[in-house]
Symmetry: D2
Subunit: 139 residues, 4 copies
């Protein structure tokens, strides 16, 4: 069984706030970068899918839990797993860690929307399949 | 019973993304601005509390649900209510609407942390009291 | 002669960085908000102009000079003046102050671009006129 | 003579705006990431220098010129050169390109400030030396 997808990034100065920690909203940018690279690792980068199918993937639900602070210049390991694949939407789960210690967990549910009608449409078949295959990685 | 606290703001160009919507992470900035102003309305602006008590209020859990898109230049009405006040943490609930129609809902749990030890400490008494009083507004 | 356009806003937590100051990139968001409201004060909000004329206004040059720090919860007064109005582009100048003391100065040159061709086009006549009239304010 | 420092990154969804381009403020985050990595390449990462010397490096002047649009998922090559090293401040110059074509140029002047007094102090000797050595790279 293949391992979960991993993406490494770094906390930048502009990610921090006056408390000395990374501002919590930075975690959502980290999740987005990891998501981008996860889709690319499936051979289906969002940019290509969105263009080919005239769809976009707005988020309908996002959440994050913060268990330890991130600070400037910290290296963050993002792990991405597929939690659910529905007809028009899917949910990704994120584990963020630093030196092997958990710092945050998050979850994003994106829905596939037609650019023309702004209404939910079926996930492109290729994408749904790839996500379902990737889900097996967590079994 | 007093009404819930309200704060009005506007979607800026830098809040939008290529899909034409406000990027979902903008909602967390909107919630933060509304939270700032809500605390100020209680007579206890964060900036003053943090300085006086040498504490900060990192988030331990945040979530948001998006029910309708926001677009550039939209006026957003943020409504803030106190959902829970604990010993060291509290939870605020946010209702975002546009022209009276719901666009998003969110929830933020902040914990009071000592700047010196970086560990949770009791909420400043005055703040806990003010939040509990404000909670009555939802009854 | 009418006074320069003014817009007041506040430094939010997410605008700050680990140094305790507002991160310099926040100033560009402040300038953008002030620019939005300045255009609205001319009766020509960007959102309406862009839609009506199928144009957008990407920046070709921006700069800022920082003379004093901004901190969390500071109130910032942005003053906007029109510096130059050309055929396809215009330049706005920004003065940011806190309690009457200068904190930053900035300048933004935006070019009017056709959404269809992605190439510069003449500024909409009404906008060029309004900007030239506003320029008189600095005389 | 060694080549200029290079750093590669990617335009994320949250970097874009409704026009379909990367919002201009994203370029300043790109420059900051490149600056971080450039300092690290000199063996003097900001995080370490700031901690060791109780200093920070606020920007006193920044500017950028945009010559071609960046779009979602574009790969951006940032090139960093040292333009000037003074007593208390230094200036970095940035060249951003995509597939070998220029997209933007920028310049950042940072001043070394004592955390305690919030006033300019001499650049740490090691940093000034390393920057001067790196400056030779442009000759």
């Amino acid at each position: 069984m293949p391992a979960a997808f991993k993406w490494r990034l770094r906390v930048r100065y502009s990610d921090t706030d006056i408390s000395g920690r990374a501002h919590y909203s930075a975690m959502f940018r980290f999740m987005e970068a990891a998501e981008d690279e996860f889709l690319r690792s499936l051979g289906l980068p969002y940019a290509a899918v969105e263009k080919a199918k005239s769809v976009s993937f707005p988020r309908v639900h996002v959440e994050a839990q913060f268990v330890a602070p991130l600070r400037y210049d910290d290296v963050v390991d993002m792990e991405v797993t597929v939690e659910r694949v529905g007809e028009t939407a899917f949910t990704l789960y994120f584990d963020a860690s630093k030196d092997g210690e958990a710092v945050a967990r998050g979850r994003v549910t994106a829905v596939c929307v037609s650019v023309e009608t702004d209404r939910p449409v079926l996930l492109p078949g290729e994408l749904a399949e790839a996500l379902r295959r990737a889900m097996g990685r967590e079994d």
